[in-house]
Symmetry: C2
Subunit: 645 residues, 2 copies
């Protein structure tokens, strides 16, 4: 087989999950074969909700501004409407999409049709040398470990010419959607958590109405049925109507309804408010059940994600967002294995982490209707001012409501303890590991904060400063003891010298500097696998980068002054420190996974304890081969070359 038929990965399907995986791997230099069986990209309709946490992810990928340029609608609140006397409807409550206690950087859902989102991803993929081929489909695949470098053979068929192309690849990924050839071939079963399935009608259009909440997300229950209203870009509005349910006595999963029928139903539900359509942009009827795949992979060579693995009702707007998380979760793990940094068995964590979230999503989907038929808690009840008080913890309803808000906005993606996410069950323990922080919880994201970048005095979002580059992020908080004013950088100096030792985890995976120009690279000056952001408890003019240990000077663009007042920590002298729970003298090194989730937090102390603890954590999953020999020693040459594939 010629080299031109060898790929690092073959991606089937150019929906959100396939595209985002393709974005990451194309950027990192992998050879990607990407196909989709539709002749053209999505023109309109389909998924449309980007949740608060997904907006952060897109921002971290540098894709947010391209998507926001399409001027999505922004949903800050959800309104609940219920039947009222005389056949009327009345608003019974509203609730924030991303309540204040979640402390989201972008506390809203952005709504625009999937085609516009896909367009931004496709442009990025093309810029990085990958083409999404259409219309192509997959007709056969087989994993054969006799060929260890490219174990998967795949037949791809061009649906225009019917020509079949046989290729070999290291990985095959199916992002085919709910009807997946790959999943079927693997014999992976879909398990239904809720046996009830529904037929939904969904319609995008420009409506003319005097209904006051047409610009908000609404759930309307009326004596004439129920509807969900979602505002959209270009003055549009999406309506979801349930057309049939498997609990109906005469249920027919192929039951359908015309546009006119749905509009007539909507008019009755909206009454006494009037509603009419200037135009309908998209309309679809589809049956959907709740389901979850038993496995996301069988052999850690053929993977699946997105709707292939989990389907559920559109009500909570989670589909595309879950797909995004699937994609980035797999992307960095494949990258770290293929570039020689991590052991192959870390790929097992993809299914473990993502399937757990899908299960949570389905549980949530089940509870959703039940929850909102109850009362909505008042803002005071859910206020974070008393987050820790007993009275609130005693209120299970409020706790459940908060958990659900957290989940739908994407901040509830909390991976459980494993080799990446430290806990007291982790095989490595060290006295300097922070285990009791309410702010730095392994498996969850790091709290947002504003800081001043020293090199250019720009006010920036610390949590977003290191881009999604496939590297582990070391967020170092200097602590008040290490403030330049107090003359002390001893702990920082010790950290730098420990990291700089040739046999440290940091140095072992470094590139030979001679092989590339790092003058303008503040993210990976030493290694493709580590990015550092150093935040000092000081005002910007007090910080002189040239006085810092040499290791940090290479990160000159990633050194920050903790001198901005934070709305969520108004009383703190050093707000960014306070927001990660560092209110005393000490600093910390917070290890954040490439996808933004905290791995472990370690106290920053004088001596070599901090580096020791870091070493132990990374030893848990980095390749032993990198720990020995000259080939991958100081320069990490092999790892680097492979990452540049």
């Amino acid at each position: 087989m010629s080299d031109s038929s060898l790929y690092d990965i073959v991606i089937i399907g150019a929906g959100p999950v396939g595209l985002l995986l393709s974005v990451c791997l194309s950027r990192w230099g992998y050879k990607v074969r990407h196909i989709d069986n539709r002749p053209v990209p999505t023109a309109t309709g389909r998924a449309d909700g980007i949740q608060p946490r997904s907006i952060e992810i897109l921002k971290n990928l540098g894709l947010k501004s391209g998507i926001m340029a399409h001027k999505p609608a922004r949903v800050f609140e959800v309104a609940f409407w219920d039947p009222a006397p005389e056949g009327k409807i009345v608003r019974t409550g509203t609730w924030a999409s991303c309540p204040d206690f979640l402390d989201g950087r972008y506390p809203y859902t952005a709504l625009l049709h999937q085609g516009l989102i896909e367009r931004v991803l496709i442009e990025d993929i093309q810029k990085n040398g990958t083409v999404v081929q259409r219309p192509w489909t997959i007709t056969r695949f087989e994993t054969n470990h006799a060929n260890p470098d490219y174990p998967v053979e795949v037949d791809l068929k061009n649906l225009d010419s019917n020509v079949v192309d046989t290729v070999r690849t290291k990985y095959l990924f199916s992002g085919e959607g709910a009807r997946s050839f790959v999943r079927e071939q693997l014999g992976v079963q879909i398990r239904h958590k809720d046996p009830i399935s529904h037929v939904w009608g969904v319609m995008d259009g420009v409506v003319r109405t005097n209904f006051p909440d047409i610009k908000m997300k609404c759930t309307i229950h009326s004596d004439h049925g129920s509807i969900m209203v979602i505002p959209r870009e270009n003055n549009m509005c999406r309506l979801y109507i349930q057309i049939a349910s498997s609990t109906d006595p005469d249920f027919d999963p192929r039951k359908t309804a015309t546009v006119a029928e749905v509009q007539a139903a909507a008019k009755k539900i909206f009454a006494p408010y009037y509603v009419s359509w200037d135009r309908v942009e998209w309309y679809s009827v589809y049956p959907i059940g709740q389901g979850i795949a038993d496995k996301y992979t069988l052999d850690h060579r053929v993977f699946m994600g997105g709707d292939v693995c989990h389907t559920h009702s559109p009500k909570a707007g989670q589909g595309m967002n879950t797909a995004f998380h699937d994609a980035i979760n797999l992307a960095w793990k494949l990258h770290l294995v293929e570039s020689g940094f991590a052991n192959r068995n870390v790929l097992e964590t993809y299914e473990v982490e993502r399937k757990f979230i899908a299960e949570t999503l389905l549980d949530f989907d089940n509870k959703y209707a039940a929850l909102f038929s109850q009362r909505i808690p008042s803002a005071a009840e859910v206020s974070d001012a008393h987050a820790g008080s007993e009275s609130q913890k005693d209120n299970p309803f409020v706790e459940m409501f908060k958990a659900n808000c957290e989940f739908t906005s994407g901040f509830g993606v909390a991976y459980k303890s494993n080799i990446f996410n430290h806990s007291l069950e982790h095989p490595f323990q060290h006295p300097l590991v922070i285990t009791d922080s309410e702010k730095l919880r392994p498996g969850r994201i790091i709290p947002p904060s504003d800081v001043t970048r020293v090199v250019d005095a720009n006010v920036v979002h610390l949590e977003n400063e290191i881009p999604f580059n496939g590297a582990f992020r070391l967020f170092i908080f200097g602590g008040q003891k290490a403030s330049p004013k107090k003359g002390g950088h001893k702990a920082l100096a010790d950290l730098a010298s420990g990291l700089s030792r040739p046999d440290s985890f940091y140095s072992r995976f470094s590139c030979k500097n001679s092989t590339r120009d790092t003058h303008y690279d503040s993210d990976n000056p030493h290694s493709k696998f580590f990015s550092i952001a150093l935040t000092l408890a000081a005002k910007r003019p007090e910080i002189e980068i040239s006085n810092l240990p040499e290791l940090f000077q290479a990160y000159s663009g990633r050194i920050y002054a903790d001198d901005r007042r934070q709305m969520k920590a108004l009383d703190a002298k050093f707000g960014a420190h306070a927001k990660v729970g560092l209110t005393g003298d000490e600093g910390a090194v917070v290890v954040v996974r490439p996808d933004g989730h905290v791995g472990v937090a370690i106290r920053l102390v004088e001596g070599q304890g901090t580096v020791e603890a870091l070493e132990g954590y990374f030893k848990g999953f980095t390749t032993p081969s990198s720990f020995v020999g000259s080939e991958s020693g100081l320069g990490g040459g092999k790892a680097h070359v492979r990452a540049q594939l």
Copy 2:
């Protein structure tokens, strides 16, 4: 002469001033002939600094995101470097570009080359049906009032074909730059405030250096000369070097220097830091003196703006910004005259307002060097926490420094009292006019604040909610007395009923609703000349738009809840009210000119006093013809048709 040779305006020059004027008038439906004598748009280099206030203006025009997509450098601070012993240089201070006390929404200067900015404006112009023709020049023009509709005749010559096109126009505008044919033909003199002229070298490129402040704006004085450093997009950096001055004994205004000479000089100045160039993108040497045109127009038909009217050193980064202000100042005045709303004599205020600012700029330019050779005041000295205290007012140095910061960031554009900008000298006086507010100062912009938009619960920037649409803005603050919680909207109801009376200034300029669909138009539901934004002292869920007076319901997308905590008014219960100085019970109607500057602020009271005061203010410059007869009465038909030309 055929209709195809008749224009509303002929614009000469496609630099910042010509382009922005063209953007506005093309959007508002005017027939624009726009030419430029360069064969292609600016490719790189030239002006590059967009000041904080200009960013707000571009945001208000909907142009900011297109410009920001080019990822300009952001300058938050300026650093001052001075000679130190042993031929070294040392940082002697830094100061914010837009200090906190200015309360700018975007407290930084955005830096990118003029070509990228022009591209965004040119695309907008084209979208609205105007084409910038190149290479064309103007060869003759003449104003002949015998043809009152199109009094100006202009000869335009295509520089490719040498064909001359003679056209007639209502207005001619010269944005030709410092060497202006129009200005010369009119015999308008340039007056030099400072007789000294300089030769400047300017170079854009990617530098490699260990100079720590290369990402900040710096003024470096060394024993080997002086240089100004300005960071730019794409890792570039601009250097300004003064090559010659008319105070030199052997001054030659044609003195020049090669790239290599400037680089060699820069290396000496930067020492002991190293500096080298990866590439040079643009280089230019130009002589420049300080000058200001005696007149901006002679007959109020032929106008000039931008560098035609004022030239000065590039040090303070004011050129393009002053041009932007010139353009928008003229745009709305031409629009209101041509659409039949304002008396023709309001055009006189263009020269009065803009020439005053140019004079201030030149004064400032003179003082700039002197100022920064003195010490920089400390942040505590300039803190706004004591803005009103006597101790600070006693410190003329701090006062001058603040005034200069305010001026360079663009917030010092403070127009003096005239028919638009109320003061105690204004011909119309009324007891309800607010004359003593420190927050609402006629001639200056309105303070920024965050509010919640009621219709969709979006958190928005109130000051930017009404776009630059050529309409007067009525920012209505309901006041605490009118809070829905207190059951009271009496003052608002009286205001609405007063505005709705058929003979009110508001109704007289309204369009016949039957002529257009206002269902989706929250900015001009009643009239092209007025936009309303109503802010209520209440939380969003307390506000029910359908309970408001009918007039305001038409502005459903412009009704706001003053329920967001403002960083600059943390203790205020109603922060947006507090930020405009309304701390008591009463509300106000703040009349803001189409360009965002406050015209007059009037207390909101029960009864007809508020409308009476508004009436008196608008009577000062609106056309009498609109006050009579059925033609322009209720429907304002004629005015509307003319605005749609």
